[in-house]
């Protein structure tokens, strides 16, 4: 039996995409990996990193970056998550540990790149992680020793005083708040300078300040396009499908400050704008508008299309394109290192209270959502967000909620019929409510 044949019997469903921009994004990313492998073969540095580090630095230095969660998503989509998670478990790591970010570690334990998705990863030159959640820095530590490469933790401090008012209403308020508690920014500046020195040492390249400023400006422009796109995406009926959200989060999660990131954001904006102007909707029969909170299901992305035909239920909102660019907007890049530090020192904080409940209520109202499907992933508590407070806030605002209990990459416990049946019942109650 070939190793690939050992995998789970369940084969996920592919998602449908409404936008050409989504096809472009998917194509680009596969090519990027191929190019990274070719460059690594020529002796160039390739860094494996998490998404909560100032990635503009690496893009400005033209260092290919493999992002840990993206490789996890690719492996899940290619139905090999079980193989890599099992490799982890065989090394003694408990099954209940965070799977999304550890799956790539399982890939390195498995050590059979020849039959891995996309022909496997280039051998990274170094690992860079941030302490967004506890497992990440441990995974980076283990990975660096497994592959025998250097490791940099972009460390950061903790917010003492969350904002009293709802800063989500205004990008300027978000940016102003990001510079509060300047001691944390000062530390993040030192950590960012440390990251630059580390990247220079492992790549043999040097970073010019102007290049970093350009990358920071580029990502700001990219975020502005995405923000305008999300304003358009709130149109009823929705111009974007869930598959489009999933394909395009690639550019905002992995190509912040990269030329492709900006080009893709612009492409997305123009296509959505055209669709809205021409009244083209993403679904033929939109009746119920759903919001999806959490990391999407990467091993069966077509799951989100399953409720359209019978119920006219569509996922009009998914968090990444809204939450990440808006919370990272730092327009003033005159001191690009400080701007990068202020951008990433809060990365992921919007998943904590008081931010998360405030944001979900705001977005649900803006997108005229009928019901919220929130993903509770036991193995990835951090990315699930502060669910109970969010549910309370949503329900106080008259917006029904549904708990979707499933892992984003691990298909081992997935029962397709049961999960779809449960969500269908919720949608039926929403339909009843509308009547």
């Amino acid at each position: 039996m070939s190793p690939m044949a050992e995998e789970t019997a369940f084969k996920g469903e592919r998602s449908k995409k409404a936008l050409n921009a989504s096809i472009e994004a998917t194509k680009f990313h596969k090519n990027y990996y191929e190019e990274a492998k070719q460059r690594a073969a020529r002796g160039e540095a390739v860094i494996l990193a998490n998404v909560g580090i100032p990635m503009e630095i690496l893009h400005a230095m033209d260092i290919p970056v493999i992002f840990n969660p993206h490789w996890s998503a690719v492996c899940a989509a290619k139905q090999v998550s079980e193989r890599y998670l099992t490799a982890l478990n065989r090394r003694g790591y408990f099954r209940d540990l965070g799977r999304y970010c550890s799956l790539p570690l399982g890939y390195f334990f498995d050590d059979r790149p020849e039959d891995a998705p996309w022909g496997g990863l280039p051998r990274p030159t170094a690992v860079v992680m941030d302490p967004m959640c506890d497992p990440l820095i441990k995974i980076g530590d283990i990975m660096s020793r497994e592959v025998n490469i250097p490791y940099y933790v972009w460390d950061r401090g903790m917010i003492a005083q969350p904002p009293r008012k709802n800063i989500w209403e205004s990008v300027d308020d978000i940016e102003a708040y990001s510079y509060e508690e300047p001691w944390r920014i000062d530390f993040a500046v030192r950590e960012t300078e440390g990251l630059i020195a580390f990247a220079e040492a492992v790549s043999g390249k040097s970073l010019q300040k102007d290049k970093l400023r350009e990358a920071m400006d580029r990502s700001t422009e990219q975020f502005e396009y995405i923000e305008k796109t999300m304003d358009l995406a709130a149109t009823v009926p929705t111009p974007m499908r869930m598959g489009d959200h999933m394909a395009n989060l690639i550019s905002t999660q992995f190509y912040r400050g990269h030329k492709f990131g900006l080009a893709q954001a612009k492409r997305l904006y123009e296509e959505v704008k055209e669709r809205v102007e021409q009244g083209v909707s993403a679904y033929e029969n939109e009746r119920i508008r759903l919001m999806y909170s959490g990391v999407p299901n990467w091993f069966s992305p077509g799951f989100y299309d399953s409720f359209e035909e019978k119920y006219g239920a569509v996922f009009a909102w998914m968090g990444y394109l809204t939450l990440v660019p808006k919370s990272l907007m730092r327009k003033d890049a005159s001191d690009p290192v400080r701007a990068a530090a202020a951008r990433y020192v809060h990365y992921g904080t919007e998943l904590q209270p008081p931010w998360f409940p405030r944001i979900l209520v705001h977005e649900a109202k803006k997108f005229r959502i009928d019901g919220v499907v929130y993903s509770k992933v036991e193995s990835c508590r951090y990315l699930s967000g502060s669910l109970r407070l969010a549910v309370r806030a949503l329900e106080r605002s008259g917006i029904p909620t549904f708990e979707h209990d499933a892992d984003m990459v691990d298909s081992r416990d997935w029962d397709d019929t049961r999960v779809k049946g449960k969500l269908a019942s919720f949608i039926e109650t929403l339909a009843e409510r509308r009547r």
């Binding site: 790591y93 540990l97 497992p135 460390d155 903790m158 917010i159 001691w183 530390f187 508590r381 109970r388």
Partner: protein, 384 residues
């Protein structure tokens, strides 16, 4: 005539009745500061004239009705319990609650409590953060030094009193004396046979978290004066590792199975007194050295430090085996575990792991069976 309590019984009383000393302190007009975990420099709180006490959970109180309605239960259940007790008003007597920048669960709990206080208007004590980081590199040390200074300034503002160098020195000395005395307790556990059980040790050490240091030191001195009279403890020598232990359930279960827990690398056990504050250094530098540079928190990297620390503790205690106990959703120690277990194997030391454990001990019968089998296996190996 009323029977006079022994020093151990007194310490046990403070461990069990955790608000006892705080109530007395408050009655005398004092300020009580709650600390979530043991990474907060209590020396500065004492120097500020306040009584620091640990904010712990309570496995006998269900979180279902209140806490779980506001915070998901997929974080460390001990922290869920703390959150629940805060919402239930059990810690209303505290003048201030300080959260360290600890693991994800502690951080999440802080943001929840902050939101419940400020956005939902719940009557909760004043809140503060003592920020730390996750690495020990040069920049991290500088940052923690800055935050140590800021923490002192914050306490001065909070109490309205300047903290003098002499007060810090006195507080460091009281805490160091406490650690020295607890190290003697640890040495008695390491004797062959041990003179103190792990369950007793947890209470002796733990009393320090809920009462003034000088009073605890006095009790410890009296207790240690009669150390020669302490009975020998029979059983297989085990070392405990894993998630925080803020109650005696697990130790009682293990020690009822022909075993004695002779040490642990847990913050509420021997780790509490492992390192003294270096009095030859500038006081705030010395606190950074103690609470950051020489700390052995499982959440930090590199993992190799936690492996070395465990092995050192196991060897020093002469333990014959290691019991790992991980509460549900412990995302720090569980990532260290496979390398710790492998290092123990290389050293010829057997181990057993209880994973995804409930805070209120569940499945006790199964645990007993597993402990029995583990102890039997060790004994069989010893007799081969």
């Amino acid at each position: 005539m009323e029977k006079q309590t022994t020093p151990f019984e007194e310490m046990q009383r403070y461990y069990r009745q955790r608000t006892l000393a705080a109530s007395k302190w408050k009655e005398a007009g004092g300020t009580v500061v709650g600390c979530v975990g043991l990474s907060i420099p209590e020396e500065l709180i004492i120097a500020a004239g306040c009584l620091p006490i640990q904010v712990t959970g309570d496995p006998s109180v269900s979180t279902t009705e209140v806490g779980d309605a506001y915070m998901e239960d997929t974080i460390c259940p001990q922290v869920c319990s703390i959150h629940n007790l805060l919402l239930l008003g059990k810690y209303d007597f505290l003048d201030l609650v300080i959260f360290p920048h600890g693991n994800d669960s502690v951080r999440k709990c802080y943001f929840h409590v902050w939101t419940e206080k400020h956005d939902l208007g719940m009557p909760l004590p004043a809140l503060a953060v003592f920020d730390m980081v996750h690495t020990k590199k040069y920049s991290a040390g500088l940052y923690v030094r800055e935050r140590m200074g800021a923490f002192k300034a914050f306490l001065e503002e909070f109490t309205g009193r300047k903290i003098s160098d002499a007060a810090i020195a006195a507080a460091i000395e009281a805490c160091n004396e406490n650690r020295r005395l607890l190290q003697k307790v640890a040495a008695l556990r390491r004797e062959d046979p041990p003179r103190i059980s792990g369950t007793e040790a947890l209470q002796i050490i733990g009393a320090s978290f809920f009462m003034p240091k000088d009073e605890h030191n006095k009790l410890l001195r009296t207790y240690l004066e009669k150390a020669d009279e302490l009975p020998a403890r029979e059983g297989t020598r085990l070392f405990a590792s894993g998630t925080i232990v803020d109650n005696t359930q697990l130790y009682e279960l293990v020690e009822a199975r022909n075993a004695v827990i002779v040490s642990e690398d847990i913050c509420t056990g021997d780790r509490y007194c492992d390192e003294l504050v270096d009095t030859s250094r500038e006081p705030l530098d010395a606190l950074v050295d103690r609470y950051h540079t020489r700390s052995h928190e499982g959440r930090m990297v590199p993992i190799s430090e936690s492996v070395d620390y465990l092995l050192k503790g196991v060897r020093a205690s002469g333990a014959q085996g290691v019991v790992f106990n991980f509460l549900r959703w412990d995302d720090t120690h569980t990532w260290n575990y496979p390398e710790q277990r492998a290092a123990l194997e290389r050293a010829g030391i057997p181990s057993i792991a209880f994973e995804m454990q409930e805070y209120r001990l569940a499945g006790a019968e199964q645990l007993r069976t597993r402990v029995d089998a583990f102890v039997e296996m060790i004994m069989a190996g010893e007799h081969e």
